[in-house]
Structures are given as C-alpha cells and as structure tokens.
Symmetry: C2
Subunit: 114 residues, 2 copies
DNA sequence: CCGAGTGTTCGATGGATATCTTACAGTCCC
DNA sequence: GGGACTGTAAGATATCCATCGAACACTCGG
C-alpha cells in the first residue's frame, strides 16, 4: 500500500464530513450540548492546528472528549489532523458558514456561558 | 380575587418567556427536534393566530404535542392565545430573531425534511 | 525495547426526555 | 344541562445519549 511514511502502522485517519451533506437537525443536535459549545468557543479563540484534543478545559474524561470531537467532525464543524502523538484541530469556519449561515456566529457571539 | 371575567373558571393562561432571557443552549436544544422543527415550519407558512395546536400534521399524540408547544413557548419562539375552546399560535419572529439572529431563517430555509 | 503521553474503542451505566394512556378542565352548541 | 371538541396534567414506559472505566493502538524519547 503506497501510504505515507515507511515502516509503519498508522492511526486510522480521522473521517471528515462535508457540512454540505449534513442535515439541519443533525447540525443543531451536535451543537446543542454544553461541552461541545465550550469546545467550539475555545477552539474559535485559538489559531488553526494549534490545539490538541487534550488541551481543552472541559469537565469530562478523555473518552467522552473523544466522542464529542467525533460528533463535531461528523457535522463538518471540526477538522482534525494527526501530528505526532497528538491530534490537532481547526474550525471549518467557511464551509460551515456556507451551509449553516449565522449558526457559528450565534455560538460565539452569545455572551452566556451555558 | 379580581381576576378576569366574572362567574368563571378559566383555563390557565399560557406562560410566555421573553427570548431575551433564554440561553443559546436552551434555544438550540428546543429547536433540535424533528417534530418541533416541523411545527415551526408549518407555523411559519401560516398567518398569525390562524393555527390551533391540533391543526398540525405531526405524527404524535396530543399530549406530546402539548408538550412540544410548551417547549417552544419556553424559549420564546411561539406565542399562544386562547380563542374559545382552542389555543391558537403565532411565531414570535422579530423577538426571536433579535435574540438569535439567523436561527429561525436556518430552520425555514434549509430544504431538507429532517 | 520500554515507558510516558495521547487518543480511540468497547461495554456498561445513568439521566434526560419524547411518547403514550388516562383522567381532567374548559368552551361551545343544542 | 348534556355532549362533542380541544387542550393540559400526571404517571409510566422507553429510547437516546453523555459519561465513565478499562483495554488497546500509536508516537516519541530514553
């Protein structure tokens, strides 16, 4: 298999979804969760590819955290890339905005913590 | 008690919430439900105060329906008024739009049924 | 090669909530 | 007043999903 660096087993590459093929209901459900809102906000305040999954200050274990990122990936809001031992993230602002105009702004603008 | 028309028991007037005092999370949770999305869309295509609760084509019993309207009222998206034996509805478009810009449009514009 | 660090997967658990059934409260019309 | 109609309330059930613990996979540095 002509794949990547020689000599190695690799972690399964994260599967990404195009926001364009995501339903409104799915997007809203994904985003209607306090932990995920917190992740999105924190991510929005950081530069792309600078935040690893474990670097977020959320009150859940790493298993749940992994699940949350999976959900966010599943609606095309977050993109992930493996960088050595860790998995770094970025918000797919433009693509998501194109499919769900205003939704991301709503999450980031609203001044409440919940 | 000096309350309303004389001689009469009355149905409890529906309690309304100002969208201004609703959290983003609550609004998103309320709106992230297939039945409620359907209600909102159907309501949006009708003139104000013309649709009674029972007049919506949703696949749930009337008890569940009553619950859904209660949720929508609770986030300030729907206003209700008693009109004889039935309770008629209207969308609080402007107020909701002011608090959650773009959210209602998102629900109405997206061309998918789910 | 081993150990520390990072993240995923699996199974189980608990809590929230959407739903139904039944019973009740008003309203209107005869 | 009786009966049809409309909606709410309360209790029971069921389903979904967020969370955790434990085991595993991969990366990197000694």
């Amino acid at each position: 298999m002509a794949n990547q660096a020689p000599g190695g087993g690799h972690r399964a590459a994260p599967v990404h979804t195009d926001p364009e093929e995501v339903s409104v209901l799915a997007a809203l459900s994904a985003v209607a969760d306090p932990v995920r809102i917190q992740l999105i906000r924190e991510l929005a305040h950081s530069a792309d590819w600078t935040r690893s999954c474990g670097s977020f200050d959320v009150p859940v274990g790493k298993a749940a955290l992994s699940h949350h990122f999976s959900v966010l990936r599943g609606v095309g809001l977050v993109e992930q890339r493996d960088e050595g031992p860790r998995r770094v993230n970025r918000l797919r602002r433009e693509e998501f905005e194109a499919r769900f105009p205003g939704l991301l702004d709503l999450l980031l603008r609203a001044g409440d913590t919940d």
